[in-house]
């Protein structure tokens, strides 16, 4: 049976660069997929594009492409990534320019388009899930609207001979599903195969999270050499079953435990993992160790797709101001608590209007918000005071109030930091798939 080897080049936008180069050089892979687009990233990228029409793609695109393109070109490894973010065409142009500079003549780069649906959303018909209101009644400054595209546009670009494919918003697993559809000739209504291919994509999409990253817990779950963590490879068969492995000699581990954790990562009902192309079913997946750092995955399934695409709406939500200060030694918690009480009073006294506020002591109750405050006294605490405001000028005053605790607050406060930022947040909704036209633009180096 035909098999292909797919490697993950990145599991998030800030991921390490070298593991992708290692995979390209030594992984004997056919495809290298970079997943670099978090929920909010595309909204921020859209703002960057509004300021500069040539911007709006992933800031690390150039570094990643420079690192891997020469090897990928030499070994005929095809690259797929959502580093196009809000501007896949500009990302493709940049990639072509890099390829020319590196002498990679003839490299074909495709930009997959159609995810940007800001102009086609009906203000009255499009419903925001979170607020159960229409887009018009949502009444916020919307900066972006992007539909999660399925594998179709990427498959079309592969059929047209693209060596590098850059998308904007695509469902993360779809970037891994596309080469399986293309290589094995899967039908777009073979729900079992699409479900299995989605499973492979889901397991690979977070890179090192299946090879021992986000897993280590010393003494209980030890992982070797995390500083040189190897990224995953899936050996996929034409029947959609796969072996997850990693490059020999790299750090990390692939075990049934790492695969089980990743299987359920960001999954709700395991029977219904809703994707643009299929509703994947992970409920009967079998995970079996077949060798060192080799785990066999089988039993994935699928049901017909819903016919709707999820759309992420980026909007200007609010501003957040924050300040922090530390207290140490005996009485640190009490002095931290006194400082929080002072800050609460200062909001009224200084006339600062808050939409929402949060005061906590890191080391005591910043994560466990309902923590028992009388448990053992820590050596030090760090106060964190954070406030949602209507505007940035007000947000800036929060840090100033924390800073003023130096001379006006409890004894021994030190190490103030402060920041204020505008918040672009995300809500979502569903769009009938026939309203979204996916296509690609091809360019050549």
């Amino acid at each position: 049976m035909k098999t292909i080897r797919i490697g993950t080049g990145a599991g998030f936008s800030g991921d390490r660069v070298e593991p992708a180069l290692d995979l390209a050089k030594h992984g004997d892979i056919d495809y290298l997929v970079f997943e670099c687009l978090a929920e909010r990233t595309i909204a921020l990228a859209q703002q960057a594009k509004m300021r500069d029409p040539n911007a709006g793609f992933d800031p690390l695109l150039e570094r990643r492409m420079r690192a891997v393109l020469p090897v990928c070109h030499e070994k005929s490894i095809r690259v797929i990534s959502n580093m196009g973010a809000a501007n896949p065409v500009a990302a493709a142009k940049k990639t072509v320019a890099i390829a020319r500079e590196l002498g990679l003549t003839g490299l074909k780069v495709a930009a997959v388009l159609g995810d940007d649906v800001l102009d086609i959303l009906s203000p009255d018909d499009f419903r925001i899930t979170e607020t159960a209101s229409s887009l018009r009644d949502f009444n916020k400054q919307v900066v972006s609207a992007n539909a999660y595209l399925g594998a179709g546009g990427i498959v079309d670009a592969l059929n047209a001979g693209a060596d590098v494919i850059l998308t904007g918003r695509a469902a993360d697993p779809a970037m891994f599903l596309a080469p399986q559809i293309f290589e094995f000739g899967w039908k777009m209504d073979d729900w079992s195969l699409l479900g299995r291919g989605t499973l492979v994509g889901h397991l690979l999409e977070c890179g090192g999270q299946i090879t021992g990253g986000y897993f280590a817990d010393p003494g209980i779950k030890d992982v070797p050499d995390l500083a040189r963590l190897g990224f995953p490879i899936a050996e996929v068969s034409a029947d959609g079953n796969a072996v997850i492995t990693k490059l020999e000699g790299t750090g990390g581990c692939v075990t049934t435990a790492t695969c089980k954790e990743q299987l359920l990562y960001e999954v709700h009902d395991p029977k219904k993992y809703i994707q643009p192309d299929v509703v994947a079913d992970f409920s009967n997946v079998c995970i079996e160790e077949i060798g060192p750092d080799r785990v066999a995955i089988s039993g994935g399934d699928g049901a017909p797709r819903t016919g709707s695409l999820k759309v992420s709406i980026g909007y200007i939500d609010s501003c957040i101001g924050e300040g922090q200060i530390s207290y140490a030694g005996p009485g640190a918690v009490a002095r931290g608590q006194l400082a929080l009480d002072i800050l609460d009073q200062r909001m009224d006294l200084a006339g600062i209007t808050c939409q929402e506020k949060r005061g906590e002591l890191i080391g005591v109750n910043s994560i466990i918000s309902n923590a028992d405050m009388t448990s053992a006294e820590p050596n030090e605490v760090r106060l964190r005071f954070v406030v949602r405001t209507d505007d940035l000028a007000t947000a800036t005053r929060i840090g100033e109030e924390v800073e003023s605790l130096y001379l006006n607050g409890p004894a021994g406060g030190g190490g103030v930091t402060k920041n204020a930022r505008e918040i672009v947040a995300i809500v979502s909704g569903l769009l009938p798939e026939h309203q979204v036209q996916t296509h690609f633009e091809m360019m050549e180096a």
Partner: protein, 104 residues
């Protein structure tokens, strides 16, 4: 005994929903997970940190449970005021649940 002695966990986020897996190290402990790590106990364990309902899904073939906790992320990762807006730390906290090993 703590849940941490027999199981491991990972958290994921989607909007204002957190999912937390609980996976037995040894399939022999599946019965304990199934009977003792209920949605009600998980809901009570997190207390006021979660304001919505908790659902539980079972995956016996991999000895795992998946908890879906609604309204668990202080408004969701893109607008939350929390220090850990993704709720990444919740996986470590669920493992502090008490387990009675003598009574599966």
């Amino acid at each position: 005994m703590l849940l941490r002695d027999i199981a491991h966990s990972r958290t994921g986020d989607k909007g204002n929903i957190s999912n937390v897996s609980v996976i037995a190290f040894d399939p022999k402990d599946w019965d304990i997970l199934q009977s003792q790590v209920t949605a009600e106990r998980v809901r009570a364990h997190f207390g006021a940190m979660i304001t919505g309902p908790v659902e539980r899904f079972e995956l016996p073939q991999i000895s795992a449970l998946n908890f879906v906790m609604h309204d668990a992320l202080a408004g969701g990762v893109t607008r939350s005021l929390a220090l850990d807006p993704h709720g990444k730390c919740l996986s470590s906290l669920i493992l502090t649940l008490d387990i009675d090993k003598s009574n599966p």
